[in-house]
């Protein structure tokens, strides 16, 4: 190994550690006692590991918030899957004269920031009587189907055309072609979509905060956010950090497991 590669490795490792450092420190400080977490000079590693922080953090978050986060995220992913897969498939494979127009319509609002439509979206949800309900939390987000439709369209368009045609000539209708031929092949697209969408939904803060901030519907991000302004000064900061770690764990697991697909999806869709 030459000196040059050695330097390169060292730089790579150093920059990487620097990027991840805040998260390492989050993990470390979440295991400190209240005094150690507020000590000066600060400890990099917990002098005494306090596992009890996690029990307190779990109580602070409440099982309800954890369940709510899962209901919210899985609800969005499932609802979007059911409606976006057929749409993406149709836009990619079925000859249809409105395809071009529909694609144009989908693409236009991609660059309109989400908070632009926050107010009217809230008003619509309010008029539908869905404020303060799970449906109100899930449906308006699930309705933002542009990304999912484009991702699946792009994938289905890349399937060998002879495959679908052969099935059509055998007399299979479009629903059969989709469910028996195209869908079983779509595993990479499904993996990319599910990991990205789940992660995005899980980390969403503003919409559930606006529509259903009550204890009963509160998701973890909504429960967590007040801690940033130290509104629970009686609590040890470590407990708050432990709560942050708890809320991050599912997405961390998904991210590590689906990293490859996640990256492909993020880089490849709608952005180029």
């Amino acid at each position: 190994m030459t000196l040059r590669t050695l330097v390169r490795y060292a730089t790579l490792l150093l920059c990487g550690l620097l990027m991840a450092a805040p998260l390492f420190y989050l993990l470390s400080a979440s295991l400190m006692s209240a005094q150690d977490a507020r000590a000066f000079p600060p400890h990099l590693l917990p002098p005494n590991v306090v596992w009890h922080n996690y029990a307190e953090a779990y109580e602070f978050l409440s099982a309800r918030a954890i369940v709510n986060s899962f209901v919210f995220s899985i609800g969005i992913v499932a609802a979007q899957l059911v409606i976006s897969i057929p749409a993406g498939f149709a836009l990619a494979t079925i000859p249809f004269r409105w395809t071009g127009l529909l694609l144009g319509v989908i693409l236009v609002p991609m660059f309109v920031p989400a908070n632009m439509t926050l107010i009217p979206l809230y008003i619509i949800t309010y008029q539908l009587g869905l404020v303060g309900t799970y449906a109100g939390m899930i449906l308006p987000v699930a309705g933002q189907t542009a990304f999912a439709m484009l991702l699946f369209r792009q994938f289905f368009a890349g399937l060998p055309p002879g495959l679908i045609e052969a099935a059509r000539l055998d007399g299979a209708g479009w629903p059969r072609v989709l469910t028996l031929i195209a869908l079983p092949l779509a595993r990479p697209a499904l993996a990319a979509y599910c990991s990205i969408s789940f992660l995005t939904a899980w980390n969403t803060y503003i919409w559930p905060q606006v529509v259903a901030p009550d204890r009963e519907h509160q998701v973890m991000t909504v429960a967590l956010a007040p801690l940033a302004q130290g509104q629970y000064t009686l609590m040890s900061p470590s407990v708050g950090l432990a709560a942050a770690v708890i809320s991050m764990t599912p997405v961390l697991i998904i991210f590590l497991a689906f990293q490859k697909w996640y990256i492909k999806g993020v880089v490849g869709t709608g952005l180029e």
């Binding site: 990487g16 507020r38 000066f40 000079p41 009217p120 309705g143 956010a225 130290g230 997405v251 990256i263």
Partner: protein, 317 residues
């Protein structure tokens, strides 16, 4: 792109079916295709219409009304616009928004580009190291806010401990009118870097190797290659990244600020988007809030136009 896909699909369907079903069969087939496509597309497009198109248009329309959600909306024409132009807090938040963009966008691009160049190597083991760089992606704005608020704590936070170590007495970051905004920007840069890096990596991998080989033969050094080959070759990515980051710092920043500082201290981190949010959800003035949000969209439109123009000018020279 769109047109080619449709026409090939069409041509294939009509041209290559060997048994030649005749005109009648052809028409029937096309009608069946249209029915299937309609059935497949409708649920998704309906949801898209109700939750994307209608809100976008409604946002536009609402700007001309005064509405508190409870009494009937009242047409006020351009009053909201007039009020907006004379609103001191609006101008203050516009300034904060511009500062966010200035402090955030350029460092995100430069650092993201450099990190991508660093990572763009075939050395073994780089794949494993990449995970470290992508780590911030899993942090939600809420998690990041809780964590960074702890790091920024004026008395015991690690940020000030590091500063004290080199002999500087650090400020109380998030409750300091001067330092709250840079502190938030730094955190947002950290959050945004992984995506920017990934996009640049994808761009870098499209540059053919032989360009570099030729440059190396010509005796071009590391910096020269970076500046005259790598950078111009990822211009397209830079334009995309700039647009995405302008949107991120103009609009996404409000969530961070809302959670960490609530726009304070003394409005020093209140962006246009946050001002619109509070006008809507704390004061209940839906019409005026929509006008503010619309103004923000215009701002983004102008910025994106400028970025495009700059890219065009650069590629022209």
């Amino acid at each position: 792109m769109v047109a080619t896909v449709t026409s090939t699909a069409d041509g294939r369907a009509v041209g290559t079916s060997p048994p030649a079903p005749g005109q009648d069969g052809n028409r029937r087939r096309r009608r069946r295709d249209a029915w299937a496509a309609t059935a497949f597309v409708t649920p998704s497009m309906l949801a898209f219409g109700v939750f994307v198109i209608v809100p976008a248009l409604a946002g536009l329309g609402l700007s001309f009304f005064s509405w508190d959600l409870f009494t009937p909306p009242e047409w006020v024409g351009l009053d909201n616009l007039a009020r907006l132009l004379g609103d001191g807090r609006m101008w203050g938040s516009l300034w904060v928004t511009l500062l966010f963009v200035l402090l955030g966008v350029v460092p995100t691009i430069v650092v993201g580009f450099v990190l991508a160049v660093l990572l763009n190597t075939r050395l073994p083991g780089v794949e494993a190291l990449r995970v470290l760089y992508l780590a911030p992606m899993v942090a939600s704005s809420a998690v990041a806010a809780v964590l960074w608020a702890y790091l920024y704590d004026g008395r015991t936070g690690i940020a000030n401990s590091i500063l004290r170590w080199v002999g500087i007495d650090g400020p109380a970051w998030l409750s300091d009118t001067t330092w709250a905004l840079p502190a938030l920007s730094l955190m947002m840069i950290w959050l945004a870097l992984p995506l920017v890096m990934l996009l640049y990596l994808a761009g870098l991998q499209r540059i053919p190797d032989d360009i570099y080989a030729a440059a190396a033969l010509d005796g071009a050094g590391l910096w020269r290659r970076l500046w005259s080959i790598t950078w111009p070759n990822v211009m397209q990515t830079t334009v995309l990244v700039t647009v995405l980051q302008v949107i991120n710092f103009v609009s996404g920043s409000f969530e961070t600020a809302l959670i960490m500082t609530g726009g304070g201290p003394l409005d020093s981190t209140q962006t246009l988007a946050l001002y619109a949010y509070r006008t809507a959800f704390e004061k209940g003035e839906m019409g005026y809030a929509s006008a503010l949000a619309l103004f923000q969209l215009v701002l983004i439109g102008v910025a994106v136009g400028l970025v495009r123009l700059a890219a065009k000018l650069r590629s022209a020279t």
